[in-house]
């Protein structure tokens, strides 16, 4: 009896013991991953990614956690956190006064990893490809090229291009030979700071890179190796961080105390604004929304500081405008245009003739913090007799339904992009995909024309004017700029987050 018991106990612990011994033989758990470095040397940077890339097509790379793409591909110019251009393949550049042409002066001696030269013809091939590619066609359709010599190229748009910086910095440059082959998704070719180590790469799981010493700015990337590991679950990423398998990962607000309590450093970012988008400005679907007083009343029923304190556990900032602080359109001296005042909001509804309120369908989706936000939003809108019916969007139709205009009001944590012209283009202009009802507005169009054709000063004033206009017209109910967190080991230094979207550090930010 005793024998059997002892044997079973031994067998029961065998797996653990064998694993532990094997792990010890191979150097222990900490050796299984990256980790910046023993002895302070910058040998390997291992990053956790909570979202995978969608293959190697340079036209289909995420801005969010897009480190593999940043590693592989260089740009003509790269954007800083406010969308201003900085050198990359282009050492210098000029934009014509009519904002139609961009002339780049390219550095010499740059080659792609397949040996092709990264010159003006290569830039032309990439932009021509972008002009025919489904994902980017609308951004580059009609552009023409002038290539006077191998180091100079001028790109010209048929119309004034207010988003010139975005258009120039969006195209990731790959070898013309690869474009011709059509096999863009099979293997990445670039001249970026790192080269793909295919042997150490398993798609969807881990991407390994070695430093490209030929990169013009190699010194700015201190790590000899880069490893990006994909974690479908944030818990797994957090465990990997805690056990030294990775040097950094994005974490949510719920993990903040745990991460800082474990001695990790945290870089904070505010690249989003939680807002209601009241896109039926003309009341074509819900007549009440056509009255500015109703939209203003909606703005006044949310206690933004209470939202920060209670719904975001203090991790965020109250927001009165949809643009990012520091961006061109941002109004520095703006006081809260619609202070929390339920009584005044109710009286505005009465004035507008909607004391009885109306019914509103708000779409919900997983991963949008709606489980936390919706109860409060529903409760506060009920103060104005606005009955919220939540509509869960799932399945293949979710994105299409969301953007289809079926829902004239949407609650969303939407990005506030550092280049406010992009925000205006995406969420304010009638053509923007987040302007769900696409209703034209003369004032916005006038200001957009100035952004397109005016001087820099006039364009800046027009951006601010649009911001003031959408505040006055209450096209949005901005609430909170929630803080997002990048947790990292002390081996990694992140002084600045240069991400235009403000959602994660860029590869060059890791020092």
């Amino acid at each position: 009896m005793r024998l059997v018991t002892r044997r079973s106990m031994l067998t029961g612990s065998a797996a653990v013991t064998i694993g532990a011994i094997l792990a010890a033989c191979t150097g222990g758990a900490n050796n299984t991953g990256g980790g910046a470095a023993s002895g302070g040397a910058k040998d390997t940077l291992t990053l956790g990614m909570t979202a995978d890339i969608e293959g190697w097509d340079p036209n289909n790379q995420p801005g969010y956690q897009g480190w593999p793409g940043e590693a592989i591909w260089g740009l003509v110019c790269r954007p800083n956190e406010f969308g201003e251009l900085e050198p990359s393949l282009a050492e210098s550049w000029e934009i014509s006064d009519d904002r139609r042409s961009f002339t780049a002066h390219l550095r010499q001696g740059t080659t792609f990893s397949d040996g092709a030269t990264a010159d003006a013809e290569a830039v032309r091939a990439n932009f021509e490809f972008a002009a025919t590619n489904e994902a980017t066609r609308s951004l580059y359709e009609g552009i023409t090229f002038d290539v006077p010599d191998a180091q100079t190229i001028t790109l010209t748009w048929p119309e004034p291009q207010p988003l010139m910086n975005d258009r120039i910095s969006r195209v990731k440059l790959t070898s013309p030979d690869l474009i011709d082959s059509g096999n863009l998704n099979d293997k990445p070719v670039g001249f970026g700071p790192y080269l793909l180590d295919e042997a150490g790469t398993t798609r969807g799981s881990v991407y390994s890179f070695t430093k490209n010493e030929e990169y013009w700015e190699a010194d700015a990337y201190p790590y000899a190796k880069l490893v990006c590991k994909v974690y479908a679950s944030e818990t797994a990423a957090l465990n990997a961080l805690k056990t030294g398998q990775i040097d950094g990962t994005l974490v949510n607000a719920q993990s903040y105390d745990e991460v800082t309590g474990s001695g990790f450093e945290v870089k904070e970012m505010n690249g989003q604004t939680t807002r209601l988008l009241l896109t039926d400005h003309k009341g074509e679907i819900i007549p009440a929304l056509g009255d500015v007083r109703v939209r203003q009343a909606i703005n006044m029923v949310f206690d933004k500081q209470a939202m920060v304190d209670n719904l975001y556990a203090g991790h965020g900032e109250v927001s009165h405008q949809i643009f990012r602080p520091g961006s061109t359109a941002y109004l520095d001296d703006l006081a809260d245009p619609y202070p929390f005042d339920v009584d005044k909001a109710k009286s505005l509804m009465v004035e507008a003739g909607y004391a009885e309120g109306f019914e509103l369908e708000l779409p919900t989706m997983d991963g949008q913090n709606h489980d936390v936000l919706m109860p409060y939003v529903t409760q506060q809108l009920a103060e104005l007799n606005i009955t919220v019916k939540q509509v869960p969007l799932t399945g293949a139709n979710a994105i299409g339904d969301l953007l289809s205009g079926t829902y004239p009001v949407v609650l969303w944590q939407l990005g506030n992009i550092g280049d406010s012209v992009q925000d205006i283009d995406i969420v304010v202009r009638d053509t923007g995909y987040w302007n769900l009802e696409h209703q034209k507005d003369e004032y916005v169009d006038e200001q957009w024309d100035i952004i397109c054709t005016g001087t820099d000063e006039e364009a800046e004033a027009a951006q601010k004017a649009i911001n003031q206009y959408v505040i006055d017209q209450a096209w949005f109910a901005p609430m909170v700029n929630p803080t997002s967190f990048y947790a990292h080991t002390a081996n990694v230094v992140i002084d600045n987050v240069s991400d235009l979207e403000g959602l994660a550090p860029k590869l060059r930010d890791f020092q």
């Binding site: 900490n30 299984t32 991953g33 293959g55 969807g204 465990n239 953007l403």
Partner: protein
């Protein structure tokens, strides 16, 4: 015997056809929605663009024709390409299947050994040992695998730091690293599976121990060890094998979750991430492979039971 094998094979093929057919129709039934999802949020959406995307993805064809193409590809080893990454489904499966098979196979072998050992011990010894094992078994079954995983990671990866918290090392790279990388996931799968299977083995053993032939054997002076190992275990093997083949299904199901927690690039993780973005060729690939594994295990289980059972052999 041969008839039984053929019948099983035929049944497996029919089940495979039905499973893939149903999943195919469920997944591909919304062509425009899938095309729109693949185009992404920023795409310029017009009816023409969506229609062009459907043509590009082959979603414009009637569903039966699409299914026919998929089946045709099956015979040539071409399961299509990811709608999003362009990666060949076959290539993706080739890297994912070994990971899932590794953890489920190791977990199954250990489950078989431990559950027989614990189940038989509990049945034979009875008394306090039986009660303790029963209690542990109920506890193991009741505690969800995500709790088990969290505890295992905390103890072995974070607190003692003897095993990695996440990741998979191929045995080609390092055998030790491979063993270390699958130990915690296997343990997380094992605890629930052993708890459940050991109970079944205990019941089957107790059932046999109560039979007349055991009393007769004992009365003839056959040693207790011989009674248990030569006779009781042999007769309890058939229901035990059924339990083990069912365990494979639960292990495969559990792997979907375990692979997320331990960041293992396996079939479950691929199925989960692909289903979320409606990458249907990938989903179909994972469904196919999973169905094949289940059917093969089922087939082998039935075969083993047939071989062990003289009545079935003669049918």
């Amino acid at each position: 015997m041969l008839t039984s094998v053929w019948r099983n094979l035929l049944r497996s093929v029919v089940v495979l056809a039905v499973v893939t057919f149903v999943v195919f129709f469920l997944m591909y039934g919304n062509g425009p929605g899938i095309a729109r999802a693949v185009m992404g949020m920023q795409a310029e959406v017009t009816e023409e663009n969506v229609a062009a995307k459907m043509v590009e993805l082959g979603l414009d064809q009637p569903l039966l024709v699409q299914y026919g193409h998929w089946v045709q590809g099956l015979f040539t080893g071409d399961l299509g390409r990811s709608f999003y990454t362009g990666q060949s489904v076959t290539e993706a499966l080739a890297t994912r299947v070994p990971v899932t098979l590794a953890i489920t196979a190791v977990a199954l072998v250990l489950t078989a050994l431990l559950s027989v050992l614990l189940g038989v011990t509990a049945a034979v010894k009875g008394g306090r040992i039986d009660r303790v094992l029963q209690f542990l078994s109920i506890l193991g079954t009741a505690v969800p695998s995500f709790i088990t995983s969290i505890v295992l990671v905390f103890l072995f990866a974070i607190f003692w730091r003897v095993l990695p918290a996440t990741g998979y090392v191929s045995p080609d790279v390092s055998l030790g690293g491979w063993a270390a990388s699958i130990t915690l996931p296997v343990l997380a799968l094992l605890i629930g599976a052993v708890s459940s299977a050991a109970q079944q083995f205990r019941t089957a053993t107790l059932d046999q121990l109560g039979k007349d032939y055991v009393r007769t054997l004992r009365a003839r002076g056959v040693s207790e060890r011989a009674v248990i190992f030569r006779h009781v275990l042999r007769n309890a093997a058939a229901p035990g094998l059924t339990v083990l083949s069912l365990t494979v299904f639960s292990l495969l199901g559990g792997a979907v979750f375990i692979e997320q927690v331990f960041a293992l690039p396996g079939l479950g993780q691929l199925a989960n991430s692909s289903a979320q973005i409606f990458d249907v060729p990938m989903v179909m690939g994972t469904v196919l492979v999973t169905a094949v594994i289940v059917l093969v295990v089922n087939f082998l289980g039935d075969l083993a039971i047939t071989l062990l059972n003289p009545k079935a052999r003669t049918r």
